[in-house]
Amino acid sequence: MTESDIRHLKSVSRYLTPVIDDDGAPFWQYAAQGELRIQACAAPDCGELRFPPRPCCPYCQSFESEWRRMSGKGRIWSYVIPHPPLLPAYAEQAPYNVIAVELAEAPRIRLVGNLVSGPDAPLDSVARERIRIGAKVQVVFDGTGLPRWVLERP
């Protein structure tokens, strides 16, 4: 293990964990199983995907919903490179990337995440020049059940 690997592992344990609400809980349960699922209306005539999850469908007002499995494919819609001052666990890895990914099945849903070289790689593991709007990405899940993203063509 290199010094930077050790630093990374120390940071990971101090990352903010999702503060989960009732509506969001299923997303995280599926994520822990390695599945990317998005809430969808279960009314037969509607079926629209929605995010963030909420009690009823904004398109047809039905309270029936299901969690639809996504392919995990998407494109980078935008990204930022945060620099300190940041919370300590993140400052240690800064500058790192945060990306917004538009899902292939629902481009208006853009999940926030990180572009990494592998599921448990550091937040700064992809070279800056590889990050560009429009790049195709694929979801992967790290050891804590957080979705992360890798380039489709690394």
């Binding site: 509506d23 935008s78 919370l87 999940l111 926030v112």
Partner: protein, 386 residues
């Protein structure tokens, strides 16, 4: 002057404004600062505290009505209101008072904001009190601060429309130039150059230090009365011509990433209502005080409020358009970027100063002013006229 009114149009006027000094650190408490600003505003109007019967502030305001009312000796209150969403509530405080006074719920209203953001903690550092719903979708990934959230929209905006860092610099420069004329401004006598901007440290790429507002201690207040009453007050009345709040359909706050068009923010919603009830158009606006927690909020707001077309906000800033003598003089006290960041309340008071002819960077003959609250969150806006 007799005015024909419908709804709240010109039915009320800002009769007094007050403020404390602005600094990175002030010794007094937020409560004491609030009291000083409110008393200064009432004195400016020539109205006794005992006549005040309405209050309005932000939900984030930590001095509450009971404390303020008993400290400065207000009368019996019959209307009090607090507006949510941080800096998005600034203009709505005045709007709520205008509605209350125009409909007879109250006669003398005070809006205020007191904040020790300069010497106090950074709100995003409080990891125990995360913003409820969106936080789980963003914060674990290191999208921690308002600057990060707006930087995400900014990068996309630059990508889609070809806006550049020079456009953002134009915003920062205009605000700094006005602050250099305003002895009360934190950045008085501290000029900004393009070189300083382009070589400054990053906060969240593509936003650098100078794209971010100040961190300030200070308080401001204003006094609202009916138009009839205002003509008898000490100062020239500044009429609330039109007012609006804006929470668009399927809006998600600063992390507005989950709808069809994240780059049309609350400004667009507020603007539609604002102009529908106004007797003039964006072309007739003499001076604008546009909420500037971050420079990219200016091009986004210029588009939303109709000063230019979609995607043209960056180009609009070229050729000195935001400077005195330009197409739309901006944030003439220095704004949140260079005067003080007090959740946008200084923009309201500066709008009043312009229409009184008393700004430190006076736009000659200014008779109309747009004031906006935070864009990127549920927002509000005012059209003021002399």
């Amino acid at each position: 002057m007799a005015r024909i009114t419908s709804g709240i149009k010109d039915a009320t006027a800002i009769a007094g404004i007050g403020q404390t000094p602005f600094a990175k650190q002030l010794p007094e408490s937020e409560k004491a600062l609030a009291c000083r600003a409110i008393l200064a505003a009432l004195d400016d109007a020539g109205i006794s505290p005992s006549e005040v019967d309405a209050l309005a502030s932000y939900t984030m305001e930590e001095t509450d009505e009971v404390e303020v009312a008993k400290a400065v000796g207000l009368g019996d209150l019959t209307f009090f209101s607090k507006v949510g969403y941080g800096g998005g509530g600034s203009c709505a405080t005045v709007a709520h008072l205008a509605a209350a006074i125009a409909t007879g719920q109250a006669t003398v209203g005070v809006a205020w904001r007191s904040r020790k953001r300069g010497s106090g903690p950074r709100p995003w550092k409080n990891t125990a009190a995360q913003l409820p719903t969106p936080a789980q979708w963003t914060r674990p990934f290191g999208l921690l601060r308002p600057a990060d959230e707006i930087a995400m929209l900014t990068r996309r905006y630059m990508h889609e429309y070809g806006a550049t860092r020079d456009h953002l610099f134009n915003v920062a420069l205009a605000c700094r130039n006005r602050a250099n004329q305003n002895p009360q401004a934190i950045m008085y006598e501290r000029p900004l150059t393009r070189d300083m901007y382009m070589t400054s440290r990053w906060i969240s790429e593509p936003l650098c230090l100078f794209d971010n507002c100040l961190e300030t201690d200070g308080a401001l207040a204003c006094v609202l009365v009916s138009a009839e009453r205002a003509v008898d007050c000490r100062r020239r009345p500044v009429y609330v011509h039109s007012a609006a709040q804006g929470l668009p359909a399927q809006h998600h706050g600063m992390v507005n990433y989950w709808n069809d068009d994240p780059l049309t923010g609350p400004a667009w919603t507020a603007a539609r209502h604002l102009w529908k009830h106004a007797d003039f158009t964006p072309e007739d606006v003499d001076v604008a005080q546009i909420y500037d927690a971050f420079t990219p909020l200016i091009p986004l707001s210029l588009e939303g409020y109709g000063f230019c077309g979609r995607g043209e906000g960056g180009a609009f800033t070229e050729g000195g358009a935001l400077e005195i003598g330009g197409r739309l003089p901006l944030n003439t006290s220095g704004g949140g970027l260079s005067e003080a960041y007090v959740h946008g309340f200084n923009l309201i008071n500066e709008g009043v100063k312009q229409l009184r002819g008393a700004s430190t960077a006076q736009v000659p003959g200014a008779a109309t002013c747009l004031v906006t609250a935070g864009e990127g969150v549920p927002t509000s806006a005012l059209l003021l006229r002399s």
